[in-house]
């Protein structure tokens, strides 16, 4: 479904990601792990098209999307929850969510009813400005916004940051449902080992910009973790 071939990317003169090969199969949940600053978010941004890779190729559903723009990628079914929320602060919660529909393949105009079951607080705050929400509320909004378009591939960059435990569980439940239905593929950046191993099918560990380890999630061992994830 998604395939990165020897991707190199970075900011200005500094190269952050080097020779990364990564694959996400349809319906698969892939977890990307690594210490602070190893380049996880940078990799996510390259997949989304916010950073142009210096070299390498990105294939998505049999198309080479290496040089297509972020909006084209979004329209082709990639949903993105960036690190740091990136909601539109001056737009209302409702408008933020409506914007999530921009990329909907079926050109839907209405928000799905079920959305607010998971995020009741968003319903209460529908007419509040996005920027006025609390940190966790904004994070919920960002996730909800990515979900409404019905993406085929979901990129989640530390989605649980700042969210209260009960909602974290709800989101985990959603991801589990996704996993069960095998309709959406997910690439997840997550720091919590416990969560990662419990939910992912496959993992990649990023260290200093390159893939240091990969494998089936159940094989993610204490040793590996100590080697690449502790400071």
């Amino acid at each position: 479904m998604l395939k990165l071939q020897s991707i190199e990317a970075g900011y200005g003169e500094s190269m952050v990601i080097r020779n990364v090969n990564l694959e996400v199969r349809p319906g698969q949940i892939v977890c990307l792990m690594g210490r602070n600053g190893v380049g996880k978010s940078t990799l996510m941004k390259s997949i989304m098209g916010l950073i142009k890779p210096r070299s390498g190729h990105i294939h998505y559903m049999d198309n080479d999307i290496t040089s297509s723009s972020p909006d084209r990628r979004a329209k082709s079914g990639i949903g993105y929850v960036p690190q740091g929320r990136e909601i539109f602060p001056q737009l209302s919660v409702e408008e933020n969510l409506m914007l999530g529909l921009e990329a909907a393949a079926d050109r839907r105009k209405k928000l799905p009813e079920t959305l607010f079951d998971t995020f009741p607080v968003l319903h209460q705050m529908l007419h509040r400005k996005g920027g006025d929400l609390s940190g966790g509320q904004q994070q919920q909004l960002a996730i909800a916004r990515a979900l409404v378009s019905g993406p085929k591939l979901l990129l989640l960059d530390e989605p649980m940051e700042g969210i209260q435990p009960s909602i974290v569980m709800e989101i985990e439940a959603i991801i589990e449902t996704i996993k069960r239905n095998r309709e959406i593929a997910v690439l997840l950046v997550e720091q919590s080992l416990e969560f990662a191993t419990s939910i992912a099918d496959y993992y990649y560990v990023l260290d200093r910009g390159t893939i240091a380890a990969e494998g089936k999630a159940e094989h993610l061992s204490e040793d590996l973790v100590r080697k690449h994830l502790t400071v």
């Binding site: 909006d71 909601i87 539109f88 990329a103």
Partner: protein, 301 residues
């Protein structure tokens, strides 16, 4: 009594003119954060379009059709300013988002160049535009109180523009896209919005509003290569006083400046009135540092 009414009308009329020159800027500066110093030159373009269309009517069409020239020129001014705005966005403004000060520098250059181009095409001296017959004269409310049709027309035109922009911005998907792009370009594109197109459209639209303003102002004021310089500062004042990024703020800003200016000018003199109005603007901002209509946000800066 009728003098008081007249003064109120004058204040309203000045407000409508200020608003007309500022709405385009409320979009390009207020929403897009481009410090467009060439805004005045788009006003100039609009005014020259009125002149050209009028000449065209006089040369090619029967005299009976002349009354229509102004309506046509509003359309032409919109279209031409829109096209030039689009062009400018594509070749220049595009590279300037998120760097308002660089946009100030570059559009200052554009403004210098456009003035010179106008001077070489139309000559340095002013050109005249003759108002159509149906805009001549005024509504005689009482013997002393005549409200010129031109001014009533401009008030109506502004109200219409504001209404349309309001509907578009706040009650359409296009407007929502536009505001989203202006607030967070990268994220908007990640949601599937073609930011390039929205950017170009928005800037072109803001410029086109300036074109409309120029066309309307040709009824009241001079038309020459440098007229943009007369309006540019006022336009920025209105947008800033109203509060950046809010259409309703721009309306309030224009009303505030227009009414106070007229009142102060009447009771003192034009010079002193001007000094007082600008002093009041400074004082007012001390009290409301973000303008009349504030957009608070929780973010730290």
């Amino acid at each position: 009594m009728s003098l008081l009414l007249l003064q109120i009308f004058n204040g309203l009329s000045l407000s409508s003119i200020l608003l007309l020159i500022a709405i385009g800027l409320a979009i390009t500066f207020g929403l897009m954060n481009v410090m467009n110093m060439a805004h005045g030159e788009f006003i100039m373009i609009g005014a020259y379009m009125a002149y050209l269309v009028q000449k065209g009517f006089q040369t090619y069409l029967p005299a009976s059709a002349f009354g229509w020239y102004f309506v046509v020129s509003l359309g032409v001014a919109f279209a031409v300013a829109f096209a030039i705005g689009w062009l400018l966005e594509v070749v220049l403004i595009r590279f300037m988002y998120g760097r308002p000060l660089d946009s100030l520098l570059a559009t200052w250059g554009v403004s210098l160049a456009l003035q010179q181009i106008a001077r070489s095409i139309f000559g340095a001296p002013n050109v005249a535009v003759k108002a159509p017959q149906w805009l001549e004269g005024g509504w005689h409310v009482t013997a002393d109180l005549i409200l010129p049709y031109k001014r009533l027309f401009i008030i109506g035109l502004v109200a219409l523009c504001i209404f349309i922009i309001y509907l578009y911005l706040y009650h359409s998907a296009g407007g929502r896209r536009m505001r989203a792009v202006m607030q967070n370009r990268q994220m908007a594109s990640c949601l599937g919005i073609s930011t390039r197109r929205v950017d170009a459209q928005s800037f072109a639209f803001g410029s086109a509003m300036a074109g409309i303003a120029g066309c309307a102002l040709s009824l009241l004021g001079p038309i020459g290569p440098t007229i943009g310089t007369y309006y540019i500062v006022d336009a920025f004042m209105v947008v800033v006083l109203g509060g950046i990024g809010k259409l309703i703020g721009t309306v309030a800003g224009a009303l505030g400046i227009g009414v106070f200016n007229t009142a102060l000018e009447y009771t003192t003199s034009a010079t002193l009135g001007k000094v007082l109005v600008f002093t009041l603007i400074i004082a007012f901002l001390q009290w409301k540092p973000m303008g009349l209509v504030t957009m608070r946000s929780r973010s730290l800066d």
